[in-house]
């Protein structure tokens, strides 16, 4: 493994850009850490931390200059690999034409374990679309709503990255431990001024990442969730959630794996030109399940059930894994703070006949 300082990180970003990438990373904007184009370290949210609770997200200044220590923000990387709105095709009398793709390859800077897992999940649902260059970051500071340790997706990053970093702030300064996970990664790393890391440094980082697993603010109950959700189709608890749920769809939109879309047909006033567009949809929308004559799922209870059952249960049937990676976004960004881990616990309690108490 290698080590480099802030200058090295800057070189890394510039190397990616020079290599033809559009680099996306965390930035501070509108009271949150969002994902947007970055051109260097100066764009990163140095010294900004985040405090999260159900339905609550607040930025605060940290005591240090850490760049990557902030819980999952309002956006996920999904918006770049599976855009909120995109043109599928356009058609004239002559035929159908696909919308042109952006030529530039994306590079993601600062992908945590949970989000790296999510990119994998999404890729398996949507099939291969162009794969971004991924600079992952191990997590040493989980937030109050994180539970990736219990979903097996963090805090250390799993496979699938091109480069993995561990951010270190110690008495030697602010530096990064780097590991290449692909040939591309090695090639880019070669452009960065770096030194080999010592065994102590590597061990220290590993210790911190491992310790982070014990500091997760949340935990997904260790159960066969597929079975639990299957058994809970007729649970009373759905009605309880429905009283609190706004059916606004925020959880599905912030979820890094929710992939549902719907389509729009667009014509100009002359009618000569028609386009078909796709945009993110949510199973909380009433029209989502519309069949001629009416929608299948109209009650809030059934729409919440669909979301949770799909995410944690039927995702296994459809794609052979769970749809949840433990990032905690749905808990933070639900305006009324509905907590997926607590709802699962309540369903488990109802199944085992205990009192439901959320």
């Amino acid at each position: 493994m290698d080590a480099f300082g802030l200058d090295g990180l800057d070189e890394l970003v510039r190397a990616l850009i020079a290599d033809g990438h559009r680099v996306i990373g965390p930035r501070r904007r509108d009271d949150a850490i969002v994902l947007d184009d970055v051109t260097g370290v100066a764009d990163l949210p140095s010294g900004w931390g985040v405090e999260v609770a159900p339905g609550r997200y607040r930025l605060h200044r940290r005591g240090d200059d850490a760049l990557f220590r902030h819980s999952a923000g309002p956006q996920s990387w999904k918006r770049f690999v599976h855009p909120p709105r995109r043109k599928l095709w356009e058609t004239t009398d002559v035929g159908f034409a696909a919308a042109p793709d952006d030529e530039r390859r994306l590079a993601f800077l600062g992908v945590r374990g949970c989000d790296l897992a999510a990119l994998g999940v999404l890729g398996r649902v949507l099939g291969a679309r162009s794969r971004p260059f991924i600079v992952a970051v191990d997590c040493t500071e989980p937030g109050g709503l994180c539970f990736c340790a219990s979903t097996g997706t963090g805090p250390s990053v799993g496979p699938g990255y091109d480069l993995a970093l561990t951010e270190r702030l110690d008495d030697t300064g602010h530096w990064f431990l780097a590991d290449a996970g692909s040939e591309d990664g090695e090639r880019i790393l070669a452009a960065v001024t770096r030194r080999p890391a010592t065994a102590d440094e590597v061990a220290g980082a590993l210790r911190d990442v491992t310790a982070a697993a014990g500091r997760m603010g949340r935990q997904m109950p260790a159960l066969d969730l597929r079975q639990l959700l299957h058994d809970s189709r007729q649970a009373q608890h759905w009605n309880d959630v429905a009283e609190r749920c706004l059916t606004c769809g925020n959880c599905t939109m912030v979820c890094p794996t929710c992939f549902c879309t719907t389509t729009e047909d667009v014509t100009d006033l002359t009618g000569d030109h028609a386009e078909r567009w796709e945009h993110w949809a949510s199973c909380f929308e009433v029209d989502f399940s519309y069949l001629h004559g009416g929608s299948v799922r109209t009650s809030a209870a059934s729409r919440y059930r669909q979301w949770l059952s799909h995410k944690l249960g039927t995702w296994h049937d459809q794609f052979g894994e769970s749809g949840c990676v433990g990032c905690g976004r749905c808990i933070a960004w639900c305006p009324v703070g509905i907590d997926i881990t607590a709802e699962v616990a309540a369903l488990a309690a109802e199944r085992s006949g205990d009192d439901v108490d959320v």
Binding site: Y57, P74, P84, G249, L269, S282, F284, V286, V336
Partner: protein, 249 residues
């Protein structure tokens, strides 16, 4: 093929919604080729008689004369599209529905006995059947163009009954309620504006009206948590449109 005819009607309103049609600067002349604008007094002194293929109706019903006139409009219109919060929900002037109109009258006018108004301001759908509703105070220009171009090709216009939050998130905005504690009606408000207010770091104030089955009680609890008083919550749910407010506990 003769182009379909379009008529624009005004009831009690501010003209903002029909102005939206003139605000389609890039499309106006094309539109005038694709449809025949047969009646639009705000823009033309030429009026062709009905029936009309599409009528756009702005405004709410606040006088006995209007209650009569909307029936005639319906009878002359093949497709009737009501535009804006006034026409779909009664508009800001529907605040009178919760007050004493007599008092309102005497407050504003010197000779109140002459003002012939109804005690309520009601949406068009309370009087006649409507085919499509365009929400908003004012309506959204893209949605207006969508209804017109959809009509021209025989498509069902795309007017999704989803929350403003879905647009807010698609746009990549940061939730003002979660990140700033700013009260926002987005979760219970009908999409269509493209999450305009959150884009300006302001909570949605509900000008597109409620989604189907809004969970007002749950949002009320959240607004309280944001620090709004009961009176402020009441006012929030009763401004440009009116949300059915369940007593939240």
């Amino acid at each position: 093929m003769t182009p379909p005819t379009l008529a624009v009607w005004k009831f009690t309103s501010c003209d903002g919604c029909q102005l939206t049609l003139l605000d389609c600067e890039d499309e106006l002349l094309t539109l005038a080729g694709a449809v025949r604008i047969a009646r639009f007094t705000e823009a033309s002194s030429a009026i062709s008689p009905g029936p009309y293929d599409v009528s756009l109706v702005e405004g709410s019903i606040t006088t006995p004369e209007e209650a009569e006139r909307i029936r005639e409009v319906r009878a002359q219109s093949r497709v009737l599209v009501v535009i804006g919060a006034c026409a779909t929900a009664g508009g800001i002037q529907a605040l009178r529905n919760f007050a004493d109109v007599e008092e309102f009258r005497s407050l504003v006018y010197a000779s109140p006995q002459h003002i012939g108004t109804l005690a309520t301001s009601t949406p068009i759908s309370a009087h006649v059947a409507v085919d499509y509703e365009l929400r908003g105070c004012p309506i959204d220009r893209r949605q207006l163009l969508e209804v017109l171009s959809a009509f021209l090709v025989g498509r069902k216009p795309d007017l999704p009954d989803a929350s403003v939050c879905t647009e807010c998130k698609r746009r990549g905005l940061t939730c003002v309620m979660v990140a700033d504690g700013t009260p926002c009606l987005g979760p219970v408000t009908h999409a269509g504006c493209g999450a305009l207010c959150p884009a300006y770091r302001r909570g949605c104030f509900g000008c597109f009206g409620p989604v189907q089955d809004p969970n007002i009680a749950a949002l009320t609890a959240q607004l309280r948590a944001c620090g709004l008083s009961e009176e402020a919550i009441d006012r929030a749910f009763r401004t440009f449109t009116h949300f059915r407010q369940e007593t939240a506990t």
